[in-house]
Symmetry: C2
């Protein structure tokens, strides 16, 4: 398995990705911030008070959104590292809510298979699109996961038409 | 299959359910409103402008949240009809994003099996908890679905302890 090197990671503009996220009104409401990216795992934080339900714990929609956004940001970070420009869309997700979370939210996302990056970029080069499966989780203070998800993201090169019915709901 | 009668539907206080939803900060940001409930199908609306992504179409997190909230509201409406008090939590979801949505959001939710209601209430009576599978969708103007989901909700009687590790993240 190839690990990202520092030069590749330095090509990732985390602030730019965060700004793109926060420009969306429903994302701004989550009050998220980029917490880090080490070349494999990307982390987003969000405060509980902006994301609480009527029981005072984290709203399921916020847990799901933050995990999906961490995955979207992760795929964008991999595109940045490879200096490839593409639009990234979430195609489908499975989400499990494990335990109530009475603490601030921290979502981490990583590739289900790091080795899938090679075929992802090969597909983007050959066909103008590729897909990646991403795992995400939100940790509980006790070390378990409050929520877990697995999502499929589709990337489409920016110069390609989107009028072809491909799953294309931006995250 | 038993259909809800008008007396049962009149026991559903849609405004109270809407107010409970809007009291949650991340839900208020969606600017949703209750659109209706006919005893089987519950519908929530939300404007595109509060839920748009950076491409100007509906944000995936808003689609997922609105479908989950419609399901949560549906289960609460069935509890109201049966005059049973219970807390409702989402346990897991599968979501498919079909096409981008460049219009206001309308999420509908209905039981995957209407006949499951009987065993749901029987389980609540006997064990203090029950579960229901709910289907949700967000329609596109062309009549297709922009997004679809299937979620499992758990209801727990309000006088029961929650310190037992049951999936318990409120929606």
């Amino acid at each position: 398995m190839r690990r990202a090197d520092p030069v590749e990671i330095s090509a990732v503009d985390l602030s730019a990705i965060e700004n793109r996220l926060l420009a969306m009104p429903p994302v701004a409401a989550l009050a998220l911030r980029m917490a880090g990216f080490d070349g494999e795992r990307l982390t987003l934080d969000a405060p509980l008070d902006a994301n609480a339900n009527d029981r005072g714990c984290a709203f399921g929609g916020s847990l799901a959104s933050l995990m999906t956004l961490a995955g979207w940001a992760l795929v964008n970070a991999h595109l940045d590292m490879a200096r490839v420009r593409a639009h990234v869309y979430v195609a489908d997700s499975e989400i499990a809510y494990r335990t109530p979370l009475y603490a601030d939210l921290r979502a981490s996302a990583w590739l289900a298979e790091q080795a899938a990056l090679e075929s992802f970029f090969e597909s983007l080069r050959r066909h103008g699109r590729g897909q990646l499966h991403v795992c995400s989780a939100i940790a509980s203070p006790d070390g378990s996961n409050a929520a877990e998800s697995r999502s499929r993201f589709v990337a489409i090169q920016q110069n390609e038409s989107r009028a072809d019915g491909v799953p294309a709901t931006a995250c």
